[in-house]
């Protein structure tokens, strides 16, 4: 199931500049998707969503926001968790370009993601640096 996105996307790498904020992406962490995640990673059973399951969906939603060419890889990742997310919760992720670097064929992007609940309370923040394959 794809997340709900609120604008015409995805944006191309060349269109992005530091400070660019993507439209919010909303998704539901339903029982089936959380169970699939728990099984895939061998996570311990919890009464709430494992925080990296929230993050994984947020990162995957970047593929709806910007062109991620095949072969894009993850270089670094930061997280800050600030609330437990109940199974079944609807959350909203807002991503922003923090840094963009091109050197020769290498293209890197650092993106910040803030995930909030439907009351606007932040449940986690993340920062991803990805390396895109050369054109």
């Amino acid at each position: 199931m794809r997340a709900k996105v609120y604008a015409e996307l995805p944006a191309g790498y060349d269109d992005l500049t530091p400070g660019h904020e993507f439209p919010p992406v909303e998704y539901v962490l339903d029982e089936a998707s959380v169970s699939a995640y728990v099984e895939a990673v061998g996570a311990a059973a919890r009464l709430h969503v494992p925080p990296l399951a929230v993050a994984a969906r947020a990162i995957a939603s970047l593929g709806d926001l910007m062109e991620m060419p095949a072969g894009t890889i993850h270089a670094s990742q930061d997280f800050d968790f600030s609330a437990l997310v109940p199974v079944g919760a609807r959350v909203i992720c807002v991503a922003k370009v923090l840094r963009k670097l091109s050197r020769g064929p290498m293209r890197m992007l650092t993106l910040e993601m803030v995930v909030s609940d439907t009351n606007g309370s932040v449940v986690q923040r993340g920062r991803s640096t990805v390396v895109l394959p050369g054109a």
């Binding site: 199931m1 794809r2 997340a3 998707s33 699939a36 995640y37 099984e39 895939a40 990673v41 061998g42 996570a43 311990a44 919890r46 709430h48 494992p50 925080p51 990296l52 399951a53 993050a55 994984a56 969906r57 990162i59 995957a60 939603s61 593929g63 991620m68 095949a70 072969g71 894009t72 890889i73 993850h74 270089a75 670094s76 990742q77 930061d78 997280f79 800050d80 968790f81 600030s82 609330a83 437990l84 394959p133």
Partner: protein
């Protein structure tokens, strides 16, 4: 329940995990990340990596689970994590995740525990290195 690692030098109980393509495929389905570098062997062979690799977030999930086992719900509620992906995790690799407590500080009624973490493969190469912080209430 095991005792929490809350003194400098305490080891965080780690574990080992073999990377298998079927787990990578399951992770792709569960996360929605279908980048072919992870799931399409034919495509991945044409890249400089020479074959499929596990999602970095799958490896981080193993490390996060280690912290969840050590610190319980406090990890999920107050944890923070900075990780660098140093080398790819490939199907067939045997990963060892481990960590230890680097520092402990009492900050206004919360004990801030900072941990150093690594995930290594069977060749002792670092796959992921990182630092995690968790806040625990003072008892």
């Amino acid at each position: 329940m095991m005792e929490m690692p809350v003194s400098v030098g305490d080891a965080i109980p780690g574990f080992s995990r073999e990377v298998v393509q079927s787990d990578i495929n399951k992770y792709a389905e569960a996360s929605g990340d279908f980048n072919p570098i992870h799931i399409n062997e034919e495509f991945a062979r044409t890249t400089p990596l020479g074959g499929t690799i596990a999602h970095g977030m799958l490896v981080l999930a193993y490390m996060s689970e280690m912290l969840a086992r050590a610190f319980g719900e406090a990890w999920d509620l107050t944890g923070s994590f900075s990780a660098r992906f140093r080398s790819p995790a490939r199907p067939g690799d045997k990963l060892e995740v481990a960590g230890h407590v680097e520092s402990v500080n009492n900050e206004g009624g919360i004990v801030r525990v900072t941990c150093s973490l690594t995930c290594r493969n069977q060749a002792d190469e670092v796959v992921v290195s990182g630092e995690a912080r968790v806040g625990l209430p003072v008892l």
